[in-house]
């Protein structure tokens, strides 16, 4: 049985159609209502101006500092079928779920490389990556790692509360696309097929006391990437207003071809990508913007100066890929292959402080 539409789904359904208006007015007073204007192709010739405004907003709010984190893939086992994903059920790829000991080994490798913020990532397999398994991972890692987040399947309210009690700080659930029809076309079976269960999960996680929520969309999954950027911005500000104690970060990864044979529906050019992130910064000035190693080094280096506040570095998207690589399929190929130290050096050279630790370990408090 499908979940009923949640509160944000109702908000999204009532949103007026996008109106492209006067660009000068939109730049002078950026707002959610002005976002379609900032995202319009007609704004591209003034991208430098948009980027300049976004940079000033980012600097004032976040300073000359960029938080660093690493994804720790714990499993690529999956019971959901998603057309774009290298972990999709039924694909003939090497599967692996790390034992809790192996998860600890990966975490120790990452801590040695400097990371104090880790994101545990898994496919959707509620037997192999159960709530009990995640609790065991969190309890094992929390003496080592000040900030732990998860990017897994969605959970029940009770489970989010259990994970928080075990030391979880953040939850990342990308909606992938907010377009219901396209969502149905790309999420064919499994737990993730239920659009509304997916979308309400951030609300339930916030209710359960998760301190950091990550949301996002895969640009290129839907033909109308501007609509997805708008939905993400609306979602971020809506969450900030409703769950005012919760820190919200957003991410807009551009989808890549994967082991599933998927090809992006529409290419989002580099200029359009910068436009999307700069516009997002202006209309959601307090939202952290996360950029992964899916994007190439030169683009990441440029976006740090404009809108990005959190980056991964030296990432492996293969379970076991840091301490014992080669045994399992990666989710996607990274583009920025620099080491964490090299990314940190780039940030320092660009006039930014790489922030490795920006949390206190909740368990010792």
């Amino acid at each position: 049985m499908s979940a009923p539409p949640g509160l944000f789904a109702q908000h999204l359904a009532q949103l007026p159609p996008p109106v492209v208006g006067d660009l000068d007015a939109a730049l002078a007073r950026p707002s959610l209502a002005a976002l379609p204007t900032l995202l319009d192709p007609a704004a591209l010739p003034r991208l430098e101006e948009l980027a300049t405004r976004a940079r000033a907003t980012t600097l004032q709010r976040f300073g000359r500092a960029v938080r660093l984190f690493a994804p720790l893939y714990v499993s690529n086992a999956c019971l959901s079928s998603c057309t774009y994903c290298g972990y999709s059920k039924g694909l003939d790829v090497a599967r692996r779920t790390l034992t809790v000991d192996e998860v600890e080994a990966e975490a120790r490798t990452l801590v040695d490389r400097g990371f104090r913020h880790l994101l545990l990532v898994a496919g959707e397999h509620r037997l192999e990556v159960s709530a009990d398994y995640l609790v065991a991972c969190l309890e094992r890692l929390r003496p080592l790692v000040p900030s732990l987040s998860v990017e897994t399947q969605t959970w029940s309210d009770d489970t989010y509360a259990r994970l928080v009690a075990a030391g979880l700080e953040g939850v990342v659930h990308y909606q992938e696309t907010y377009d219901r029809a396209r969502y149905a076309e790309t999420h064919l079976a499994g737990w993730k097929r239920d659009y509304d269960r997916r979308l309400t999960s951030t609300e339930r996680a916030a209710e359960a006391g998760v301190r950091r929520l990550g949301i996002g969309a895969l640009l290129g999954l839907s033909a109308d990437w501007r609509a997805d950027v708008r939905a993400v911005a609306e979602h971020a500000v809506w969450l900030q207003n409703r769950y005012w104690r919760t820190e919200v970060t957003v991410s807009l990864p551009r989808i890549k071809a994967s082991a599933s044979g998927f090809q992006p529906l529409v290419p989002v050019s580099d200029r359009e990508y910068v436009q999307a992130l700069a516009a997002l910064r202006l209309v959601a000035p307090e939202a952290g913007i996360v950029l992964s190693t899916r994007e190439p080094a030169a683009l990441r280096d440029g976006l740090v100066r404009i809108a990005v506040t959190t980056m991964s570095a030296g990432s492996s998207t293969e379970p076991g890929g840091y301490s014992d690589p080669g045994g399992a399929q990666e989710q996607f190929a990274v583009s920025d292959e620099r080491s964490p130290a090299e990314v940190a050096a780039m940030l320092e050279h660009a006039g930014y402080e790489p922030v490795w630790k920006d949390a206190f370990p909740l368990h010792v408090l």
Partner: protein, 259 residues
Amino acid sequence: MGDSTDPLHVAGRALTSRLLVGTGKFAGHAVMRDALLASGAEVVTVALRRVDLDRAGEGDVLDFVPPGMVLLPNTSGAVDADEAVRLARLGRAATGTPLVKLEVTPDPRTLAPDPIETLRAAERLVAEGFDVLPYCSADPVLCRHLEEAGCATVMPLGAWIGSNRGLRTRDAIEVIVAQAGVPVVVDAGLGVPSDAAEAMEVGADAVLVNTAIAVAADPVRMARAFALATEAGRLGHLAGRGAVRDRAEASSPLTGFLS
């Protein structure tokens, strides 16, 4: 920098500089250290959530705090009294100082201080022997409560933190200054040196500045500018301004001969 004949007494310490500084948002630790030195400040606040004792001596933020500066650990990131108290204890264990800048900010967007939880935490920390410097709303009654709770200072905000908007709370600060029996440190929102001068002229005992220095194009020069402005504002306050009048008044009145 500062006036040794006009010390600021905070928690048993006599400070000559009335500018306190922070360590967040800088482009790097080296420029932060240079700006701290240029500020002439004696007290520097550090977010405990940024301190990584596992990296001590290997580039942690504390390695770049100039020796001799008084460290003021802060509880930035704490969302309620309970977290702030436990974080303060961690800070005291790690740094050995009983000083704590109490920050309780449950709303990550505004980072507005929570008056209720701040007061609760202050009461508990004072009872545990901390010297508590609470970041708080510019609320005269709250400042009374914090003083009665035994805080070493009150630290009302000048404007939203990080906003660089200046002394937006001037009317409230004037009341707080007039009534306070502990030093009043205007914290947050001061954007340019003249904002610091204004706060000091109004009668604040000190100011705390971070973002305005850290994100300036030249943080070292801006730190020096804030130091000068803070001292100028203090001198201006001590000198006592003349009355403000609606219209011009001659310096040599025509009827002066009558007196």
